[in-house]
């Protein structure tokens, strides 16, 4: 037993060393393992009893969209510490870009893979256009500005009938061209979409990790921790923040292109605030700043949302519970619709995570140490514990969560 544990520890430390030195290789290997798991999992009980293989692949591909979105938002919120509440707007811009390039509405039929980059680039342009003037403002204004932007974009799409087909949206969008070996893309072969998505996520993850470990990544984190200090150390904060913001928009646009090519219709109502909120909840649950954690968090949260909650409905209806009647409030327990609770659960999860576990479900070691440093310090140094335990202006995330109250 002891021997086993020793071996495990040795293996862990060796794999950690490997991961640190060969980041990209680790990502590729992990994603390959994930891909193999995703291919075979739907065929094993109990998963195969819930739904067939293709709906699973379909769900995985859709989950991938949210994984991408979450990884992008993570750069903005998690790394640079900027709250972007209009993230769905860039998703919409990417989706509409693809719709214009690949639909009977525009008459164009451009190849899918280059369009991924074009859609991302268009979203980036909008990201820069929005970010450039607003990133000079303080952080909470950015939140409200992006929230407003997120509301405006669908309104513009709805009200620009001749250019966007208004509220109907653009339908009949062409699917990607057939792949060699894999064949046609169709709703019946979501496998292809999943494979492409795994590929995109892998590439995105490698690029994001590169940035994360680079000078820019460190600059982001420096700004997140203390913008003033970062500026004093010669970091061009506006430019650095803009880069993070644009990168988030880019990833969102990329996800938008993919989603449009899969759903084959884009309409303004697909890009409401609840999308932005869902992605934010995913980032928080996965652990702000932690790329792997956020990706895993998004994947799991999405599957809970589209598979687990629907399953619970079926179970709740089987067990016939009585109704609860409290005057104006009528509560039929047997007919509880768990999907009704979806955003409530997201809200609770988000708040609980912020209060109790800000490092997320899958914390990275460094971030964890960072976040709990204040706590440890506070425990040792009674002078720091008190109503005003933390120095004002210290941008330590939840630094005062335990010591302050």
């Amino acid at each position: 037993m002891k021997q086993l544990r020793a071996r495990w520890t040795a293996f862990r430390s060796r794999s950690h060393t490997f991961a640190e030195h060969h980041r990209s290789a680790t990502i590729v290997i992990t994603m390959l393992i994930a891909a193999i798991l995703l291919i075979f999992l739907p065929r094993i009980p109990p998963l195969n009893a819930i739904q067939g293989a293709n709906p699973w692949y379909d769900a995985f591909a859709n989950a991938g969209v949210f994984v991408l979105l979450a990884m992008g938002l993570n750069v903005v919120v998690g790394l640079a510490g900027l709250l972007d509440l209009g993230y769905a707007a860039f998703f919409a811009i990417g989706a509409y870009t693809y719709a214009y390039s690949n639909s009977p509405f525009s008459g164009l039929d451009l190849p899918f893979f280059p369009m991924l980059l074009v859609g991302a680039a268009v979203a980036a342009v909008f990201g820069i256009a929005l970010g450039a003037p607003t990133l000079r403002l303080r952080g909470d204004y950015l939140a409200i500005m992006t929230l407003g932007f997120g509301e405006i974009v669908p309104i513009v799409f709805v009200n620009s009938d001749p250019y966007t087909r208004g509220t109907n949206g653009i339908g009949g969008i062409y699917r990607p061209e057939a792949l060699p070996f894999f064949g046609e893309f169709s709703p019946l072969t979501s496998f292809n979409y999943m494979v492409v998505m795994i590929f995109i996520v892998t590439v995105a993850m490698m690029l994001l990790y590169r940035l994360h470990d680079s000078r820019i990544g460190r600059a982001w984190m420096a700004i997140r921790e203390d913008e003033l200090a970062a500026a004093a150390n010669g970091i061009n904060t506006v430019l650095t923040k803009l880069l993070a913001f644009a990168l988030g928009a880019t990833t969102s646009g990329l996800a938008g292109v993919f989603n449009a090519s899969k759903l084959t219709i884009v309409s303004p109502d697909q890009f409401s605030f609840s999308v932005s909120f869902t992605v934010l909840a995913m980032v928080i649950v996965g652990g702000m700043g932690n790329i792997w954690g956020v990706a895993a968090g998004a994947f799991i949260v999405y599957l809970i949302q589209v598979v687990l909650l629907k399953q619970l409905n079926t179970i709740a209806e089987t067990i016939n519970l009585p109704a609860l009647d409290l005057g104006p409030i009528h509560f039929d327990l047997a007919k509880i619709n768990f999907t009704d609770y979806q955003y409530l659960l997201f809200g609770i999860a988000l708040v609980l995570m912020m209060l109790k576990r800000p490092e997320g479900l899958f914390p990275s070691q460094a971030r964890r140490a960072e976040l709990h440093a204040a706590e440890d310090l506070g425990a040792n140094d009674p002078a720091l514990v008190g109503a005003l335990g933390e120095a004002p202006g210290s941008d330590e995330l939840t630094g005062g969560s335990e010591g302050g109250s």
Partner: protein
Amino acid sequence: MTTVAVAGRRSNPASRFLRIAFFAVVAIVIYQLVLFIALQQTWLVGTSALPADQAFPVAVQQTINALSIGAIYALIALGYTMVYGIIELINFAHGDVFMVGAFLSMFVTLGIFGQTVGVSVTDIPFLILLLASALIIVMPLTGLLNVTIERIFYRPFRGGSRLAPLITAVGVSFILQNLALVFVGSGDRGAPQVFPLEWQIKFGEAKISVLSIFIFALAVSLMVALNLFVNKTRLGRAMRATAQDQQAASLMGVDLNQTIALTFLLGGALAGAAGVVWGLRFGYVRQDLGFNAGLKSFTSAVLGGIGNINGAALGGFFIGFTENLASALGFSRWSEFLVFLILTFVLIFRPTGILGQQLGDRA
């Protein structure tokens, strides 16, 4: 954070009130004129352009409408601005506190007074009793809700980073909204319009509903009361001190927790009052009401200069007038767009708002 008090603003409150009232009347008259002229322009409103004799009463009525919705936005905006002034947090959940207030008011009139949807009360003493009870029951409840939110969700972050409570606030907003979704469903709920809509004052051709006057009067009296409280009482002084410098205030013996809780209490109570008049005015309540109303009210607060109580009231009316103008001229599809456009421009070109930020001197 600290702003030096402008000497003029520290002057006698009565004369200040008169000055504000004077400017308000001027602004209203100007708006009426703008609307009066715009309504006659064929290039602007197309075939629905009105001749001058018809445009005038419409302009008067629309101005009254704008004052009603503006009063509601202003009441909500006060809560945003006070909270921001004191702890520099955008309380995203504030709009949803307003929504809860609207629901509570509905429950009070339906449940306690046994009113039915669509039936108004013409018996004046009973109407006064009903409205007063609704306000007396709802305002403390929403105030307490706001205090509870602060105690549970925001206080643990105090003194820490600003991002964490901001994200938490978004989460709390979603929790409130979705609790309402679970308990009352996603559709509209009929709120009893107990205030008789037939009560109207004829002003030439224009008919002004007494309800609009009631809403406006209620909002203004609450604002005046708040102003007096903040400026004239010990607790109000503690609030101003805390907003100016938390640490210094604390050292001078101000109980921070109590003061911040008080701020949330007042903000929540004002949102509750807005909820009560909302039901009277529009006859429905729904669970996602707080999102848009909150967004617009926050915009109002920013517009007026966040942290500034008079600014929030001014901003609320400004947004009310803006929306009203868009709807009155047939651009209702774009009215939200217009509001956010204003927000964008204000934030970019004058981030301190119309009246400027007065985090310290917030009255």
